[in-house]
Amino acid sequence: MIKLTNVYKVFFPNTSNEVLALNNINLDLNPGDFITIIGSNGAGKSTFLKVLAGIELPDAGKVELAGKDVTAYPEYLRAKDIGRIDQDPLASTASEMTIEENLAMAYKRGQVRGLRWAITSNKEKLFKEVLAEVGLGLENRLRVPVRTLSGGQRQALALVIATLAEPKLLLLDEHTAALDPKTAKQIMDLTGKIVSSKKLTTLMIPHNMEQAIKFGNRLMMMHRGQLILDLGHEEKSMLTVPQLVERFSTASGTAFDDDRVLLAT
Protein backbone atom coordinates (compact mmCIF):
# COMPACT_ATOMS: atom_id res chain seq x y z
CA MET A 1 0.00 0.00 0.00
CA ILE A 2 2.83 2.38 0.86
CA LYS A 3 6.04 1.62 -0.91
CA LEU A 4 9.41 3.32 -1.17
CA THR A 5 11.90 2.13 -3.76
CA ASN A 6 15.55 3.22 -3.82
CA VAL A 7 14.81 6.59 -2.23
CA TYR A 8 17.67 9.07 -1.82
CA LYS A 9 17.73 12.53 -0.32
CA VAL A 10 20.82 14.73 -0.40
CA PHE A 11 21.15 18.11 1.28
CA PHE A 12 23.70 20.65 0.00
CA PRO A 13 24.75 18.41 -2.90
CA ASN A 14 28.24 18.88 -4.33
CA THR A 15 29.45 21.03 -1.46
CA SER A 16 31.71 20.19 1.44
CA ASN A 17 28.60 20.13 3.64
CA GLU A 18 26.90 17.46 1.56
CA VAL A 19 24.61 15.26 3.69
CA LEU A 20 23.20 12.01 2.42
CA ALA A 21 20.12 12.07 4.63
CA LEU A 22 18.39 9.14 2.95
CA ASN A 23 20.62 6.52 1.40
CA ASN A 24 18.71 3.99 -0.65
CA ILE A 25 15.59 3.47 1.42
CA ASN A 26 13.37 0.56 0.49
CA LEU A 27 10.22 -0.16 2.40
CA ASP A 28 6.93 -1.89 1.86
CA LEU A 29 4.25 -1.08 4.42
CA ASN A 30 1.32 -3.38 5.02
CA PRO A 31 -2.03 -1.78 5.76
CA GLY A 32 -2.49 -1.50 9.50
CA ASP A 33 1.24 -1.61 10.24
CA PHE A 34 2.30 0.49 13.22
CA ILE A 35 6.03 0.98 12.84
CA THR A 36 8.36 2.67 15.28
CA ILE A 37 11.63 4.03 13.93
CA ILE A 38 14.66 4.64 16.10
CA GLY A 39 18.14 5.87 15.30
CA SER A 40 20.72 8.32 16.55
CA ASN A 41 20.60 12.09 15.97
CA GLY A 42 20.82 13.00 12.33
CA ALA A 43 20.14 9.44 11.19
CA GLY A 44 17.53 10.72 8.77
CA LYS A 45 14.34 9.73 10.59
CA SER A 46 12.59 13.08 10.25
CA THR A 47 13.70 13.41 6.65
CA PHE A 48 12.24 9.97 6.00
CA LEU A 49 8.83 11.05 7.29
CA LYS A 50 9.04 14.35 5.42
CA VAL A 51 9.71 12.57 2.16
CA LEU A 52 6.61 10.47 2.79
CA ALA A 53 4.57 13.61 3.56
CA GLY A 54 5.91 15.49 0.53
CA ILE A 55 7.50 18.25 2.60
CA GLU A 56 10.82 17.17 1.12
CA LEU A 57 10.91 15.61 -2.34
CA PRO A 58 13.39 12.77 -2.91
CA ASP A 59 16.36 13.28 -5.23
CA ALA A 60 15.98 9.76 -6.59
CA GLY A 61 13.67 6.84 -6.13
CA LYS A 62 9.97 6.29 -6.05
CA VAL A 63 7.25 6.82 -3.45
CA GLU A 64 3.94 5.05 -3.91
CA LEU A 65 0.81 5.61 -1.90
CA ALA A 66 -2.27 3.43 -2.37
CA GLY A 67 -0.95 2.21 -5.70
CA LYS A 68 -0.31 5.74 -6.98
CA ASP A 69 3.11 7.11 -7.78
CA VAL A 70 3.23 10.28 -5.67
CA THR A 71 6.99 10.87 -5.84
CA ALA A 72 6.63 14.37 -7.32
CA TYR A 73 3.44 15.39 -5.48
CA PRO A 74 3.86 18.40 -3.21
CA GLU A 75 2.58 18.13 0.33
CA TYR A 76 -0.84 19.65 -0.28
CA LEU A 77 -1.68 17.10 -2.97
CA ARG A 78 -0.89 14.16 -0.69
CA ALA A 79 -2.55 15.61 2.35
CA LYS A 80 -5.81 13.83 1.66
CA ASP A 81 -4.16 10.53 2.59
CA ILE A 82 -1.61 11.58 5.19
CA GLY A 83 -1.99 12.89 8.72
CA ARG A 84 1.13 14.22 10.38
CA ILE A 85 2.13 15.57 13.78
CA ASP A 86 5.34 17.33 14.61
CA GLN A 87 7.11 17.49 17.95
CA ASP A 88 6.39 21.20 18.28
CA PRO A 89 2.89 21.65 19.76
CA LEU A 90 2.63 24.98 17.94
CA ALA A 91 3.17 23.39 14.55
CA SER A 92 0.10 21.22 14.09
CA THR A 93 -2.68 23.58 15.14
CA ALA A 94 -3.70 27.15 14.24
CA SER A 95 -3.31 29.19 17.45
CA GLU A 96 -5.56 32.14 16.74
CA MET A 97 -8.44 30.00 15.53
CA THR A 98 -10.86 28.15 17.75
CA ILE A 99 -10.88 24.42 18.48
CA GLU A 100 -13.92 23.91 16.32
CA GLU A 101 -12.43 25.92 13.47
CA ASN A 102 -9.29 23.80 13.62
CA LEU A 103 -11.42 20.68 13.48
CA ALA A 104 -13.56 22.06 10.66
CA MET A 105 -10.38 22.51 8.61
CA ALA A 106 -9.35 18.94 9.42
CA TYR A 107 -12.80 17.71 8.46
CA LYS A 108 -12.19 19.05 4.94
CA ARG A 109 -8.73 17.47 4.68
CA GLY A 110 -7.78 17.15 1.03
CA GLN A 111 -11.18 18.27 -0.24
CA VAL A 112 -12.16 21.30 -2.26
CA ARG A 113 -13.00 24.15 0.09
CA GLY A 114 -15.91 26.29 -0.98
CA LEU A 115 -18.23 28.96 0.32
CA ARG A 116 -20.32 26.89 2.71
CA TRP A 117 -20.35 27.73 6.41
CA ALA A 118 -17.38 25.87 7.84
CA ILE A 119 -19.21 25.07 11.05
CA THR A 120 -22.63 23.48 11.11
CA SER A 121 -24.57 21.98 13.97
CA ASN A 122 -23.97 18.49 12.61
CA LYS A 123 -20.23 19.02 12.55
CA GLU A 124 -20.33 20.53 16.02
CA LYS A 125 -22.01 17.37 17.28
CA LEU A 126 -19.36 15.22 15.62
CA PHE A 127 -16.52 17.35 17.02
CA LYS A 128 -17.97 17.08 20.53
CA GLU A 129 -18.11 13.32 20.22
CA VAL A 130 -14.54 12.85 19.03
CA LEU A 131 -13.21 15.29 21.62
CA ALA A 132 -15.14 13.56 24.39
CA GLU A 133 -13.27 10.34 23.53
CA VAL A 134 -9.99 12.14 24.14
CA GLY A 135 -11.08 12.72 27.73
CA LEU A 136 -9.52 16.13 28.36
CA GLY A 137 -12.74 18.13 28.52
CA LEU A 138 -12.03 19.88 25.24
CA GLU A 139 -15.56 19.10 24.06
CA ASN A 140 -16.81 21.91 26.30
CA ARG A 141 -14.36 24.42 24.89
CA LEU A 142 -15.12 24.30 21.18
CA ARG A 143 -15.17 28.09 20.77
CA VAL A 144 -11.95 28.75 22.61
CA PRO A 145 -8.86 29.83 20.63
CA VAL A 146 -6.26 27.08 20.53
CA ARG A 147 -3.65 29.50 21.83
CA THR A 148 -5.18 29.13 25.30
CA LEU A 149 -4.57 25.35 25.44
CA SER A 150 -1.64 23.65 27.15
CA GLY A 151 0.99 21.84 25.12
CA GLY A 152 -0.55 18.48 25.94
CA GLN A 153 -4.04 19.62 25.04
CA ARG A 154 -2.70 20.97 21.77
CA GLN A 155 -1.01 17.70 20.89
CA ALA A 156 -4.21 15.82 21.77
CA LEU A 157 -6.09 18.17 19.47
CA ALA A 158 -3.39 17.66 16.83
CA LEU A 159 -4.01 13.92 17.07
CA VAL A 160 -7.71 14.44 16.49
CA ILE A 161 -6.96 16.79 13.58
CA ALA A 162 -4.55 14.30 12.02
CA THR A 163 -6.95 11.38 12.29
CA LEU A 164 -10.41 12.94 11.92
CA ALA A 165 -10.61 12.26 8.18
CA GLU A 166 -9.11 8.75 8.61
CA PRO A 167 -5.88 9.14 6.64
CA LYS A 168 -4.24 6.19 4.90
CA LEU A 169 -1.01 6.98 6.69
CA LEU A 170 -0.26 8.64 10.02
CA LEU A 171 3.19 10.15 10.58
CA LEU A 172 4.30 11.00 14.12
CA ASP A 173 7.64 12.74 14.58
CA GLU A 174 8.48 12.67 18.31
CA HIS A 175 5.08 14.17 18.96
CA THR A 176 5.43 13.84 22.73
CA ALA A 177 8.97 15.23 22.96
CA ALA A 178 7.98 18.69 24.13
CA LEU A 179 5.66 17.43 26.86
CA ASP A 180 6.27 16.62 30.51
CA PRO A 181 6.52 12.86 31.24
CA LYS A 182 3.02 12.53 32.61
CA THR A 183 1.37 14.36 29.72
CA ALA A 184 3.62 12.54 27.25
CA LYS A 185 2.34 9.23 28.58
CA GLN A 186 -1.26 10.44 28.31
CA ILE A 187 -0.75 11.47 24.69
CA MET A 188 1.01 8.19 23.87
CA ASP A 189 -1.83 6.16 25.35
CA LEU A 190 -4.29 8.23 23.39
CA THR A 191 -2.20 7.69 20.25
CA GLY A 192 -2.26 3.92 20.77
CA LYS A 193 -5.99 4.00 21.34
CA ILE A 194 -6.79 6.03 18.21
CA VAL A 195 -4.40 4.09 15.98
CA SER A 196 -5.82 0.72 17.01
CA SER A 197 -9.47 1.76 16.95
CA LYS A 198 -9.14 3.28 13.47
CA LYS A 199 -6.60 0.66 12.32
CA LEU A 200 -4.36 3.39 10.93
CA THR A 201 -1.15 2.59 9.14
CA THR A 202 1.34 4.51 11.24
CA LEU A 203 4.99 5.47 11.24
CA MET A 204 6.17 6.86 14.55
CA ILE A 205 9.51 8.24 15.63
CA PRO A 206 9.20 7.56 19.35
CA HIS A 207 10.57 9.87 21.95
CA ASN A 208 12.32 7.07 23.82
CA MET A 209 13.30 3.41 23.54
CA GLU A 210 10.51 2.22 25.77
CA GLN A 211 7.89 3.72 23.51
CA ALA A 212 9.63 2.07 20.58
CA ILE A 213 9.20 -1.34 22.16
CA LYS A 214 5.83 -0.82 23.74
CA PHE A 215 4.00 0.55 20.71
CA GLY A 216 3.51 -0.83 17.25
CA ASN A 217 3.99 -4.18 15.55
CA ARG A 218 7.25 -3.48 13.79
CA LEU A 219 10.44 -1.69 14.78
CA MET A 220 13.04 -0.24 12.47
CA MET A 221 16.42 1.29 13.02
CA MET A 222 18.00 3.97 10.92
CA HIS A 223 21.65 4.81 10.74
CA ARG A 224 23.30 7.33 8.42
CA GLY A 225 20.34 7.45 6.08
CA GLN A 226 19.83 3.71 5.88
CA LEU A 227 17.35 1.29 7.41
CA ILE A 228 19.65 -1.15 9.15
CA LEU A 229 17.23 -3.30 11.10
CA ASP A 230 13.61 -4.34 10.70
CA LEU A 231 12.13 -6.31 13.58
CA GLY A 232 8.77 -8.03 13.43
CA HIS A 233 6.23 -8.06 16.20
CA GLU A 234 7.37 -11.22 18.02
CA GLU A 235 11.04 -10.34 18.04
CA LYS A 236 10.36 -6.81 19.16
CA SER A 237 7.96 -7.60 21.97
CA MET A 238 10.59 -9.79 23.70
CA LEU A 239 13.20 -6.99 23.71
CA THR A 240 14.33 -4.93 26.66
CA VAL A 241 15.82 -1.48 26.25
CA PRO A 242 19.43 -2.64 26.88
CA GLN A 243 18.98 -5.44 24.38
CA LEU A 244 17.66 -2.99 21.83
CA VAL A 245 20.70 -0.75 22.32
CA GLU A 246 22.88 -3.81 21.90
CA ARG A 247 21.13 -4.75 18.66
CA PHE A 248 21.69 -1.24 17.41
CA SER A 249 25.41 -1.31 18.12
CA THR A 250 25.81 -4.66 16.40
CA ALA A 251 23.85 -3.62 13.35
CA SER A 252 25.44 -0.19 12.93
CA GLY A 253 28.93 -0.98 14.17
CA THR A 254 28.77 2.10 16.41
CA ALA A 255 27.53 2.85 19.89
CA PHE A 256 24.07 4.31 20.17
CA ASP A 257 24.97 7.91 20.74
CA ASP A 258 21.67 9.49 21.50
CA ASP A 259 21.52 10.02 25.26
CA ARG A 260 18.33 11.93 24.90
CA VAL A 261 16.45 9.00 23.43
CA LEU A 262 18.09 6.54 25.82
CA LEU A 263 17.33 8.45 28.96
CA ALA A 264 14.10 10.20 28.18
CA THR A 265 11.11 8.80 29.92
Partner: protein
Protein backbone atom coordinates in the same frame (compact mmCIF):
# COMPACT_ATOMS: atom_id res chain seq x y z
CA UNK B 1 -18.66 70.23 14.91
CA UNK B 2 -21.31 69.03 12.56
CA UNK B 3 -18.81 69.24 9.74
CA UNK B 4 -16.36 67.11 11.63
CA UNK B 5 -18.96 64.43 12.19
CA UNK B 6 -20.34 64.37 8.66
CA UNK B 7 -16.87 64.48 7.18
CA UNK B 8 -15.70 61.75 9.56
CA UNK B 9 -18.61 59.55 8.62
CA UNK B 10 -18.44 60.12 4.89
CA UNK B 11 -14.68 59.88 4.52
CA UNK B 12 -14.49 57.18 7.20
CA UNK B 13 -16.92 54.94 5.35
CA UNK B 14 -15.18 55.53 2.03
CA UNK B 15 -11.77 54.73 3.50
CA UNK B 16 -13.40 51.97 5.54
CA UNK B 17 -13.31 49.70 2.47
CA UNK B 18 -9.60 50.24 2.33
CA UNK B 19 -9.18 49.60 6.06
CA UNK B 20 -11.01 46.29 5.59
CA UNK B 21 -8.71 45.39 2.70
CA UNK B 22 -5.60 46.27 4.67
CA UNK B 23 -6.89 44.33 7.68
CA UNK B 24 -7.34 41.31 5.45
CA UNK B 25 -3.77 41.25 4.15
CA UNK B 26 -1.71 42.73 6.97
CA UNK B 27 -3.58 41.33 9.92
CA UNK B 28 -5.35 38.18 8.77
CA UNK B 29 -3.06 36.90 6.03
CA UNK B 30 0.11 38.31 7.62
CA UNK B 31 1.16 39.68 4.23
CA UNK B 32 2.45 43.27 4.25
CA UNK B 33 0.97 44.21 0.91
CA UNK B 34 2.22 47.54 -0.40
CA UNK B 35 0.18 47.19 -3.60
CA UNK B 36 -2.58 49.15 -1.88
CA UNK B 37 -0.69 52.43 -2.33
CA UNK B 38 -1.12 51.79 -6.04
CA UNK B 39 -4.51 50.15 -6.24
CA UNK B 40 -6.15 53.02 -4.34
CA UNK B 41 -5.33 55.71 -6.94
CA UNK B 42 -5.73 53.11 -9.70
CA UNK B 43 -9.36 52.60 -8.68
CA UNK B 44 -9.85 56.36 -8.85
CA UNK B 45 -8.04 56.77 -12.17
CA UNK B 46 -9.91 54.00 -13.97
CA UNK B 47 -13.23 55.22 -12.63
CA UNK B 48 -12.54 58.84 -13.63
CA UNK B 49 -11.39 57.88 -17.10
CA UNK B 50 -14.43 55.64 -17.61
CA UNK B 51 -16.75 58.47 -16.56
CA UNK B 52 -15.19 61.08 -18.84
CA UNK B 53 -15.47 58.75 -21.81
CA UNK B 54 -19.15 58.39 -20.99
CA UNK B 55 -19.51 55.22 -18.99
CA UNK B 56 -22.30 54.85 -16.45
CA UNK B 57 -20.81 55.84 -13.04
CA UNK B 58 -21.99 52.54 -11.56
CA UNK B 59 -20.05 50.64 -14.19
CA UNK B 60 -17.11 53.03 -13.84
CA UNK B 61 -16.79 52.39 -10.12
CA UNK B 62 -17.04 48.65 -10.70
CA UNK B 63 -14.28 48.84 -13.33
CA UNK B 64 -12.09 50.81 -10.94
CA UNK B 65 -12.52 48.19 -8.23
CA UNK B 66 -11.83 45.36 -10.68
CA UNK B 67 -8.60 47.06 -11.75
CA UNK B 68 -7.53 46.86 -8.11
CA UNK B 69 -8.29 43.13 -8.13
CA UNK B 70 -6.01 42.74 -11.15
CA UNK B 71 -3.25 44.66 -9.35
CA UNK B 72 -3.63 42.34 -6.36
CA UNK B 73 -3.40 39.35 -8.67
CA UNK B 74 -0.19 40.74 -10.20
CA UNK B 75 1.44 41.02 -6.77
CA UNK B 76 0.11 37.63 -5.77
CA UNK B 77 1.42 35.91 -8.88
CA UNK B 78 4.82 37.56 -8.54
CA UNK B 79 5.08 36.40 -4.95
CA UNK B 80 3.67 32.89 -5.24
CA UNK B 81 4.68 31.80 -8.72
CA UNK B 82 7.89 33.78 -9.21
CA UNK B 83 8.94 33.71 -5.54
CA UNK B 84 9.50 37.48 -5.36
CA UNK B 85 9.67 38.77 -1.78
CA UNK B 86 6.22 39.99 -0.67
CA UNK B 87 7.18 43.62 -0.06
CA UNK B 88 9.14 43.88 -3.29
CA UNK B 89 6.26 42.34 -5.26
CA UNK B 90 3.95 45.07 -3.97
CA UNK B 91 6.47 47.78 -4.80
CA UNK B 92 6.93 46.46 -8.34
CA UNK B 93 3.18 46.41 -8.94
CA UNK B 94 2.73 49.89 -7.49
CA UNK B 95 5.48 51.26 -9.65
CA UNK B 96 3.95 49.74 -12.78
CA UNK B 97 0.55 51.10 -11.77
CA UNK B 98 1.84 54.69 -12.11
CA UNK B 99 2.51 54.07 -15.77
CA UNK B 100 -0.89 52.43 -16.19
CA UNK B 101 -2.59 55.43 -14.56
CA UNK B 102 -0.74 58.04 -16.59
CA UNK B 103 -1.34 56.10 -19.80
CA UNK B 104 -5.03 55.63 -19.00
CA UNK B 105 -5.75 59.16 -17.89
CA UNK B 106 -3.37 60.74 -20.40
CA UNK B 107 -2.34 63.20 -17.69
CA UNK B 108 -1.80 63.14 -13.94
CA UNK B 109 -5.20 64.47 -12.97
CA UNK B 110 -8.83 64.31 -14.16
CA UNK B 111 -11.42 66.69 -12.68
CA UNK B 112 -14.95 65.31 -12.52
CA UNK B 113 -17.03 68.16 -11.19
CA UNK B 114 -19.18 68.57 -14.29
CA UNK B 115 -19.97 64.86 -14.71
CA UNK B 116 -22.74 62.96 -13.00
CA UNK B 117 -21.05 61.06 -10.19
CA UNK B 118 -21.71 57.73 -8.53
CA UNK B 119 -23.85 59.20 -5.77
CA UNK B 120 -26.07 61.24 -8.13
CA UNK B 121 -26.45 58.16 -10.29
CA UNK B 122 -27.69 56.12 -7.33
CA UNK B 123 -30.11 58.91 -6.41
CA UNK B 124 -31.39 58.82 -9.98
CA UNK B 125 -32.13 55.10 -9.46
CA UNK B 126 -34.58 56.26 -6.83
CA UNK B 127 -35.86 59.09 -9.06
CA UNK B 128 -34.27 61.81 -6.99
CA UNK B 129 -32.39 64.61 -8.72
CA UNK B 130 -29.59 66.21 -6.86
CA UNK B 131 -31.06 69.73 -7.19
CA UNK B 132 -34.19 68.89 -5.22
CA UNK B 133 -32.21 68.12 -2.06
CA UNK B 134 -30.78 70.60 0.41
CA UNK B 135 -27.07 70.25 1.10
CA UNK B 136 -27.77 68.63 4.44
CA UNK B 137 -30.23 66.21 2.90
CA UNK B 138 -27.74 65.36 0.15
CA UNK B 139 -25.01 64.69 2.70
CA UNK B 140 -27.33 62.55 4.80
CA UNK B 141 -28.35 60.52 1.80
CA UNK B 142 -24.78 59.92 0.61
CA UNK B 143 -23.62 59.03 4.10
CA UNK B 144 -26.49 56.59 4.49
CA UNK B 145 -25.69 55.08 1.13
CA UNK B 146 -22.01 54.69 2.01
CA UNK B 147 -22.97 53.22 5.37
CA UNK B 148 -25.12 50.57 3.71
CA UNK B 149 -22.33 49.77 1.26
CA UNK B 150 -19.56 49.47 3.82
CA UNK B 151 -21.81 47.49 6.14
CA UNK B 152 -22.55 45.09 3.29
CA UNK B 153 -18.83 44.70 2.62
CA UNK B 154 -18.23 44.10 6.32
CA UNK B 155 -20.94 41.43 6.49
CA UNK B 156 -19.81 39.72 3.30
CA UNK B 157 -16.24 39.61 4.53
CA UNK B 158 -17.34 38.31 7.93
CA UNK B 159 -19.31 35.59 6.23
CA UNK B 160 -16.49 34.70 3.84
CA UNK B 161 -14.00 34.30 6.67
CA UNK B 162 -16.29 31.76 8.30
CA UNK B 163 -16.67 29.54 5.25
CA UNK B 164 -14.42 26.54 4.54
CA UNK B 165 -12.43 28.65 2.09
CA UNK B 166 -12.28 31.58 4.52
CA UNK B 167 -10.95 29.35 7.27
CA UNK B 168 -8.21 28.23 4.89
CA UNK B 169 -7.35 31.89 4.23
CA UNK B 170 -7.14 32.65 7.94
CA UNK B 171 -5.07 29.55 8.61
CA UNK B 172 -2.68 30.57 5.84
CA UNK B 173 -1.92 33.64 7.94
CA UNK B 174 -1.99 31.78 11.25
CA UNK B 175 -0.10 28.54 10.54
CA UNK B 176 0.75 28.04 6.92
CA UNK B 177 2.47 24.69 7.43
CA UNK B 178 -0.54 23.32 9.24
CA UNK B 179 -3.13 24.23 6.62
CA UNK B 180 -0.87 22.96 3.86
CA UNK B 181 -0.68 19.63 5.64
CA UNK B 182 -4.47 19.58 5.43
CA UNK B 183 -4.38 19.84 1.66
CA UNK B 184 -4.57 23.57 0.95
CA UNK B 185 -2.38 25.12 -1.72
CA UNK B 186 -1.47 28.23 0.23
CA UNK B 187 -0.25 29.97 -2.93
CA UNK B 188 -3.86 30.03 -4.03
CA UNK B 189 -5.25 31.31 -0.74
CA UNK B 190 -2.68 34.12 -0.76
CA UNK B 191 -3.52 35.04 -4.34
CA UNK B 192 -7.24 35.06 -3.62
CA UNK B 193 -6.81 37.22 -0.52
CA UNK B 194 -4.67 39.74 -2.37
CA UNK B 195 -7.30 40.00 -5.09
CA UNK B 196 -10.15 40.55 -2.63
CA UNK B 197 -8.13 43.04 -0.59
CA UNK B 198 -7.04 45.16 -3.52
CA UNK B 199 -10.54 45.05 -5.00
CA UNK B 200 -11.78 46.70 -1.82
CA UNK B 201 -8.92 49.18 -1.73
CA UNK B 202 -9.56 50.22 -5.32
CA UNK B 203 -13.28 50.50 -4.58
CA UNK B 204 -12.28 52.84 -1.79
CA UNK B 205 -10.21 54.89 -4.25
CA UNK B 206 -13.03 54.90 -6.81
CA UNK B 207 -15.49 56.23 -4.23
CA UNK B 208 -12.96 58.79 -3.03
CA UNK B 209 -12.68 60.16 -6.56
CA UNK B 210 -16.48 60.42 -6.68
CA UNK B 211 -16.71 62.23 -3.40
CA UNK B 212 -13.86 64.69 -3.96
CA UNK B 213 -14.59 65.26 -7.65
CA UNK B 214 -11.25 64.34 -9.18
CA UNK B 215 -8.73 61.56 -9.63
CA UNK B 216 -5.02 62.18 -9.21
CA UNK B 217 -2.02 59.87 -9.57
CA UNK B 218 -0.69 61.17 -6.25
CA UNK B 219 -3.76 60.43 -4.16
CA UNK B 220 -2.39 57.08 -2.94
CA UNK B 221 0.55 58.55 -1.07
CA UNK B 222 0.19 57.81 2.61
CA UNK B 223 -3.14 55.96 2.38
CA UNK B 224 -1.57 52.74 3.60
CA UNK B 225 -0.27 54.28 6.80
CA UNK B 226 -3.62 56.00 7.29
CA UNK B 227 -5.36 52.63 6.95
CA UNK B 228 -2.99 50.99 9.37
CA UNK B 229 -3.72 53.84 11.77
CA UNK B 230 -7.45 53.19 11.33
CA UNK B 231 -7.04 49.49 12.01
CA UNK B 232 -4.97 50.24 15.10
CA UNK B 233 -7.52 52.74 16.40
CA UNK B 234 -10.18 50.08 15.83
CA UNK B 235 -8.16 47.46 17.67
CA UNK B 236 -7.49 49.77 20.58
CA UNK B 237 -11.14 50.68 21.00
CA UNK B 238 -12.82 47.38 20.20
CA UNK B 239 -10.18 44.80 20.99
CA UNK B 240 -8.24 42.59 18.64
CA UNK B 241 -9.78 39.33 19.77
CA UNK B 242 -12.50 37.97 17.62
CA UNK B 243 -13.04 38.45 13.96
CA UNK B 244 -16.23 40.52 14.26
CA UNK B 245 -14.51 43.01 16.51
CA UNK B 246 -11.59 43.34 14.13
CA UNK B 247 -13.78 43.94 11.09
CA UNK B 248 -16.17 46.36 12.73
CA UNK B 249 -13.26 48.02 14.51
CA UNK B 250 -11.49 48.71 11.21
CA UNK B 251 -14.47 50.66 9.88
CA UNK B 252 -15.11 52.55 13.09
CA UNK B 253 -11.39 53.20 13.41
CA UNK B 254 -11.47 54.66 9.94
CA UNK B 255 -14.37 56.95 10.88
CA UNK B 256 -12.59 58.15 14.00
CA UNK B 257 -9.33 58.69 12.14
CA UNK B 258 -11.05 60.74 9.43
CA UNK B 259 -12.98 62.74 12.03
CA UNK B 260 -9.68 63.53 13.77
CA UNK B 261 -8.25 64.74 10.48
CA UNK B 262 -11.30 66.95 9.96
CA UNK B 263 -10.88 68.26 13.48
CA UNK B 264 -7.24 69.01 12.79
CA UNK B 265 -8.21 70.99 9.72
CA UNK B 266 -10.87 72.85 11.66
CA UNK B 267 -8.28 73.82 14.26
CA UNK B 268 -6.16 75.16 11.41
CA UNK B 269 -3.42 72.62 12.06
CA UNK B 270 -1.08 72.51 9.05
CA UNK B 271 -2.44 69.79 6.74
CA UNK B 272 1.00 69.09 5.32
CA UNK B 273 2.07 67.70 8.70
CA UNK B 274 -0.72 65.11 8.96
CA UNK B 275 1.10 62.31 7.20
CA UNK B 276 4.18 62.57 9.38
CA UNK B 277 2.05 62.83 12.51
CA UNK B 278 0.09 59.73 11.48
CA UNK B 279 3.30 57.83 10.76
CA UNK B 280 4.69 58.75 14.18
CA UNK B 281 1.47 57.76 15.93
CA UNK B 282 1.45 54.40 14.15
CA UNK B 283 5.07 53.87 15.12
CA UNK B 284 4.28 54.65 18.75
CA UNK B 285 1.26 52.35 18.73
CA UNK B 286 3.43 49.51 17.45
CA UNK B 287 6.38 50.29 19.69
CA UNK B 288 4.82 51.13 23.06
CA UNK B 289 3.19 47.75 23.77
CA UNK B 290 6.57 46.29 22.87
CA UNK B 291 8.46 48.01 25.65
CA UNK B 292 5.73 47.44 28.22
CA UNK B 293 5.72 43.67 27.88
CA UNK B 294 8.60 42.44 25.84
CA UNK B 295 7.34 38.89 25.81
CA UNK B 296 3.96 39.75 24.39
CA UNK B 297 3.30 40.33 20.75
CA UNK B 298 2.89 44.02 19.94
CA UNK B 299 -0.29 45.11 18.24
CA UNK B 300 0.15 42.59 15.55
CA UNK B 301 0.25 45.03 12.69
CA UNK B 302 2.04 44.53 10.43
CA UNK B 303 2.72 40.85 10.69
CA UNK B 304 5.49 40.02 8.29
CA UNK B 305 5.39 36.50 6.87
CA UNK B 306 9.06 36.36 5.98
CA UNK B 307 9.99 34.57 9.19
CA UNK B 308 7.39 31.90 8.67
CA UNK B 309 8.63 31.27 5.19
CA UNK B 310 12.18 30.97 6.37
CA UNK B 311 11.04 28.39 8.86
CA UNK B 312 9.54 26.35 6.09
CA UNK B 313 12.77 26.58 4.15
CA UNK B 314 14.91 25.60 7.07
CA UNK B 315 12.96 22.46 7.88
Amino acid sequence: MENIITSGLQQGFIYGFMALGVLLTFRILGFPDLTVEGSFPLGAAITAKAIVVGADPLLAVLLGALAGGVAGAATGLMHTRMKVNNILAGILTTSAIYTVMLRTMGRPNIPLLTNENFFDRILRLFNITEGTLSLIQYKTVTITLLFVMVLTARLLLGWFLKTDLGLAVRATGDNEKMIRSLGVNTDNTKLLTLIISNFMVALSGALASQSQGFADVGMGIGVLVASIASVIVGEMLFGSRGLSMLLTGAILGSVIYRALLALGLRLNLPAEDFKAVTAILVLLALFLPNIKTRTQKPLSLPQVTENKEKEVGQE
